[in-house]
């Protein structure tokens, strides 16, 4: 039985193994594949032999209790950690050992659980920084400040303003980031990641520490980003309710191992998952 059949209960198998979701979004071919990833810190095994894939266009969640190794997994994908064993395949090619900035240049943007923004800069400058990889003019042409560099700057500014509008942070665009409340900082961080026009967007606990209203806003933005920009999103979250509503497929981790992988419904009914995670919350 194909994955699509499992997921949808009916045959909708595209050639690349993708499918169309109930709300009409196209899920495409495998974009990123993690194969038998093992990550150790000294004697501690953070990730134990985990494999899963991320498909183009989907919202993929990685969930699990505290200390399950979710953040470590995101750090492996974004190149902040290099696993001792296993391979990462990106767009069909095996990825060599890479530094985080190289991964970012490949089109993988991320946010951080504890927010990593340029606190001294304005919101606008922060988001502009996200476009650094799209700025090509050399030092000399910038120095002369003519033609290409100027055009490029204008283009970048237009894209950035679009994203700022999209995330509804126009009214704070000139404010220094350091002075903003937590929820807005999270949104600015998302804006900066989006400014890079990533093919894969990694969100590390995008809703951690937010109140209900802020969580609803953030969920809406994540769905809109996926829908309007077609951005593939992988996110980590431990708020189960939010994840189940948002994501197309879910990986469940516990103690560094994968204990479940599938649609939210499948995962919800998986006995291992219930034991490890849901059981505690819902019993």
């Amino acid at each position: 039985m194909s994955l699509a059949e499992q997921v949808l209960g009916h045959e909708r198998d595209n050639e690349d193994g993708g499918w169309i979701t109930a709300d009409g979004r196209q899920i495409g071919a495998v974009m990123m594949e993690m194969k038998n990833i093992t990550l150790r810190f000294g004697g501690v095994v953070a990730i134990k032999d985990i494999s899963f894939d991320i498909r183009k266009g989907e919202i993929r969640a990685i969930i699990g209790p505290n200390g399950a190794g979710k953040s470590s997994m995101l750090n492996v994908i974004s190149g902040f950690y290099n696993p001792q064993e296993g391979d990462v395949f990106y767009l069909g090619e095996k990825r060599p050992k890479m530094r985080p900035y190289e991964v970012a240049r490949q089109g993988i943007a991320r946010t951080f659980q504890n927010i990593a923004l340029f606190e001294g800069m304005s919101v606008l400058d922060n988001v502009m920084t996200g476009r650094l990889n799209h700025m090509k003019a050399g030092v000399l042409s910038q120095a002369l400040w003519k033609g290409r560099a100027e055009r490029e700057e204008i283009e970048n500014r237009e894209k950035v303003e679009k994203i700022i509008d999209f995330l509804e942070i126009q009214n704070i665009r000139k404010k220094p980031v350091g002075s903003l409340p937590y929820g807005l900082k999270k949104r600015v961080e998302l804006a900066r990641a989006l400014a890079a026009e990533p093919s894969l967007l990694l969100l590390d606990e995008p809703m951690a520490g937010m109140n209900v209203e802020e969580k609803e806003d953030m969920s809406r933005f994540i769905l809109d980003v996926n829908d309007e920009f077609g951005t593939t999103i992988a996110l980590i979250e431990h708020d189960m309710g939010v994840v189940m509503d948002l994501s197309d497929r879910v990986v469940v981790m516990d103690y560094g191992k994968k204990i479940g992988d599938g649609t939210p419904d499948e995962v919800r009914n998986n006995q291992d998952v219930i034991d490890a995670y849901l059981g505690v919350a819902h019993d």
């Binding site: 530094r99 985080p100 910038q142 120095a143 900066r192």
Partner: protein
């Protein structure tokens, strides 16, 4: 106008000019400190090294000639050319960039994530290493440096002040040039860091390493870049000091004056380095002028440090530094 006031005004102006040179050295410190959190004790030696290399290249001196002659029994000292100053400055700039690369490749890349004190110790080691290498490479004698900057009393200022006050101010042409060049350098640096792609990346790295990585900035590249810029600033400072008082090894000690400048201005602020430099320059000249004769002179040796000490007590973050707030 009373003579004393006129003298004081002249002293004030000369203090400003001296302050510009302090500010130049301090600027090099601030650049590296902001981008990498390293307090680069070797900044002064970099200025010395740049000046030595510049003279050596201009005069066609063979590097390591003493060593070569001692090992091979030869007698070579000079290539026998005299290069124009502009060419020599460009070549020295290339040497400083190579130095920036080497320092990062062989020292600081291996020390990423270490305690600040360890990084600081590494720069002390680097300072003495570079001083030693500079000595072996170019010799320890005092060298004259002349890149064609005008020197001596500025007659226009002398004459016009004489007409107005009946007393001609003595302002050195070199100091005027130094001020102009330093101002141009600061403006260029500001424009670079505010508007260029690399400048934006540099500010990003100065602010948050993790975030910078996540938007695709290579920290290594930025560190080499910032050490190159600091090397270039050191070259400019080296040219000014070297022209003024000859290229000699005491140059590296003058750089220590940048410490009180930074305490005044704040370690993380470029405007702070400039204002701090000017305050120290003016302060120590005026103090020497007013109080010096009463206490037997030589106050310039300690005035800057005492002023810095006062700042440490009342405003530890300096005039422009970021306020340090630690939550308990």
């Amino acid at each position: 106008m009373p003579d004393q006031l006129l003298f004081a005004m002249e002293v004030f102006l000369n203090g400003l000019m001296a302050g510009v040179l302090y500010a130049l050295v301090a600027l090099g410190f601030v650049l590296i400190y902001k981008a990498s959190g390293i307090f680069n004790y070797a900044q002064g030696v970099m200025a010395l090294f740049a000046a030595l290399t510049l003279v050596g290249i201009m005069e066609g001196q063979v590097p390591f000639s003493h060593l070569i002659n001692a090992v091979f029994g030869t007698e070579i000292h000079h290539f026998g050319w005299h290069l124009p100053a502009v060419v020599a400055i460009v070549l020295t700039g290339v040497v400083m960039i190579a130095l920036a690369w080497a320092v990062n490749r062989f020292i600081f890349r291996h020390l990423v994530g270490q305690e600040p004190i360890i990084l600081f110790m590494a720069t002390i080691g680097l300072a003495y290493f570079m001083e030693g290498v500079g000595d072996i490479m170019w010799g320890a004698d005092i060298k004259k440096l002349d890149v064609g900057l005008p020197q001596g009393i500025n007659t226009w200022i002398d004459e016009s002040t004489y007409e107005i006050f009946g007393y001609g101010f003595f302002i050195d042409n070199l100091d005027l040039w130094a001020t102009g060049i330093a101002a141009a350098l600061v403006i260029a640096l500001t424009i670079f860091s505010q508007y260029s792609k690399q400048g934006r990346a540099l500010r990003a790295v100065a602010d948050d390493h993790q975030a910078a990585l996540s938007v695709g900035i290579s920290l290594n590249y930025i560190w080499v870049l910032v050490w190159s810029i600091a090397g270039f600033v050191a070259l400019v400072a080296g040219i000014m000091w070297g022209t003024k008082s000859g290229v000699q090894f005491s140059l590296s000690l003058i750089a220590l004056k940048a410490l009180p400048v930074l305490m005044l201005g704040g370690f993380t602020s470029i405007p702070g380095a400039i204002v701090g430099g000017l305050i120290i320059g003016v302060g120590e000249k005026l103090f020497e002028f007013a109080i010096g004769p009463l206490v037997g002179g030589a106050t310039e040796n300690w005035f800057a440090y005492v002023l810095a000490l006062l700042f440490l007590v009342f405003r530890p973050q300096g005039l422009f530094g970021e306020r340090i707030i630690e939550r308990v």
